[in-house]
């Protein structure tokens, strides 16, 4: 692992443009990188206990060495921390710690929960503080840390409340993946497979060929694949920052995936696992609708199984699924903009009613 693995990807959004800086063992460079980009002098680090224990000291050291005053904040690990009560607690703690409008920057050090919640708190405290995303999970590296979507969950569903707030910098140290629990790593792979499935047939083939060294975190395989994923995400976000249409393709697998998470009360299923189930179902539906050629679902499911991800929707009643779909935020009036595959490497949105997404008997047949 060396500096030769350093990569930089630009997210082009006019005056809100920023860099994704990729490296291996690069956490110590964070402080200087933040100082070079922002006028801030006070760093508010948000993390969860397991991440804070492993990387909090190194990140603090790096920021202090670059001249920042540093305070650390924590929320309990897990999706259930992504709520307004935790946000309110953080507002209070950050204000009491001296957070102010002109000189503070939020550092979101962790996975998707920390990135989404930290981003939301940064978006709303003083009507917007800069945020630096330091993703330490595969999911957040390739997906949630890039693009400015921040948010919290409410009783009615996931991410229904939030803000678009682009980070000032995304700092990825791929070495942090070595301490990620294997189940979390597999979960993050769902978004990697998703990018390939909707956008990049060559990446899909590469994943089929190099899956084992990728899961073993061989940097020669891992870093180029991370970079490719960041480029895909960056290019989609640059074309459609506020999800007017095109960016919706990134929701592939998420309509059913969110329904599964919601029906399970966000317990016992990881985001990527739910998305994996949702993607396989969506591929089957794409075939059924005549959008994707036969064999698409089979090839996608085979890769996800090799990753070690679940591919069958859990058996809740159809009625419960339909209800969960009807508060889905991608709904446009009564139809949902469902993302279908045209084949491996290409996707489109199709406006569908919930009952068209889940025809009678579809759950038993898995479409």
């Amino acid at each position: 692992m060396s500096a030769s693995h350093a990569r930089s990807v630009r997210v082009r959004l006019a005056e809100r443009s920023y860099a994704i800086e990729l490296g291996v063992g690069s956490l110590g460079g964070l402080g200087e990188a933040v100082r070079a980009r922002l006028g801030a002098t006070r760093a508010l680090i948000l993390s969860v206990p397991p991440v804070g224990r492993r990387y909090g000291a190194a990140v603090t050291r790096s920021l202090r060495a670059a001249g920042f005053r540093v305070k650390r904040f924590e929320v309990p690990d897990g999706e259930r921390s992504k709520n307004l009560r935790q946000a309110e607690r953080l507002y209070g703690e950050m204000l009491e710690a001296g957070a102010d409008r002109g000189s503070s920057v939020v550092i979101a050090l962790g996975g998707g929960v920390v990135g989404d919640l930290g981003g939301f708190v940064a978006a709303t405290l003083f009507r917007g503080l800069p945020v630096v995303q330091v993703p330490t999970s595969l999911l957040s590296m390739v997906d949630s840390s890039v693009g400015g979507k921040t948010g919290v969950n409410v009783a009615q569903g996931k991410n229904l409340v939030g803000a678009f707030h682009q980070p000032s910098l995304v700092w990825i140290d791929a070495a942090t993946l070595r301490t990620l629990p294997p189940r979390q790593l597999r979960s993050g792979m769902a978004e990697v497979v998703k990018h390939a499935a909707i956008w990049d047939a060559r990446l899909f083939s590469r994943l089929e060929r190099q899956l084992e060294p990728l899961l073993a975190l061989d940097p020669d395989v891992l870093v180029p694949i991370l970079e490719r994923n960041c480029r895909i995400k960056a290019s989609v976000v640059s074309r459609d920052e506020r999800e007017g249409g095109f960016r919706m393709l990134l929701n592939y697998g998420h309509t059913l995936g969110h329904a599964v998470e919601s029906l399970k009360g966000y317990r016992g299923v990881l985001h990527g696992e739910a998305v994996s189930m949702g993607m396989v179902y969506a591929a089957a539906l794409s075939e059924r609708l005549g959008k994707a050629p036969e064999g698409t679902r089979e090839r996608l499911e085979a890769l996800l199984r090799r990753v070690g991800l679940p591919t069958k929707l859990p058996s809740f009643e159809r009625r419960a699924y339909l209800r969960a779909l009807s508060v889905d935020k991608k709904k446009r009036d009564s139809r949902i903009r469902f993302v279908a595959l045209r084949g491996i490497g290409e996707a489109e949105t199709v406006p569908l009613l919930p009952r068209e997404i889940l025809p009678a008997g579809a759950l038993t047949r898995q479409c």
Copy 2:
């Protein structure tokens, strides 16, 4: 009162530009105006009970006649409703009522509390729904409904959490002021006087000349003054949407004003009353700093007294004031960007430490 009083002011913010439409007895035209500007089909009206009772039915009728499905929501009257718990309750109620991303618009019908809270809920539900501001208080007509500042209060202070979210339209029916409680009307006058004090010496003279017919809501005096205030606010906001510097001038009187509100726990003092005290103090400090000529404070105080507004800071301990100032969101690192007058009609920001804003003995002397 007739259509001859109709006025239109443009807030120029590139793709976020919008109109302020002023009229007398114009509430019935709201539905068509919203339909002409937005693709939405579902209107979510937020108000407080006294405003809802008076104008809810007329607004609902107007929106229904223009083809909208309409749902109404309420929060208790008063500043203390502007918090995250009310926001969370509204998210839930709006989602249960079928709010969705593609077809919903929030209508904030009421004063500053409804505008700020409704604007914040609109800014964050589904990461941003369009909002139409229908201000029914003088304060919200000339100040808070224009400019996109939305927010809620937290234990540490007022408006510390929020978002910039420009409305799609501001619809002002000046006739609604006739049902505004007199104390609220006087409170709103503080912001009118503020605009004149920081920006427009001619408007200040006009207020001195025409105060009685203005307070009596004579439309021939009221409407041009409302229009002038909206133009001042619009031009400041167009020059500095996110309060990078210039827009801070609008905070004149607010540094001490917010401290007073916070020390009183937002009880027993209206926003404009607190701002009135803060403005007089700030004028005295401006003289003391050699920024404003002698007599500035006296002239400002005389006008505010004629309006019927309080002009002396309440007697909390200096220590308490200093603590309240130190979480003020306009603080830049340890200094506060204090707004001083250069004279009637002109202002500037001065970076000051809390103890320079409140030198020992200043509270007794009122500076």
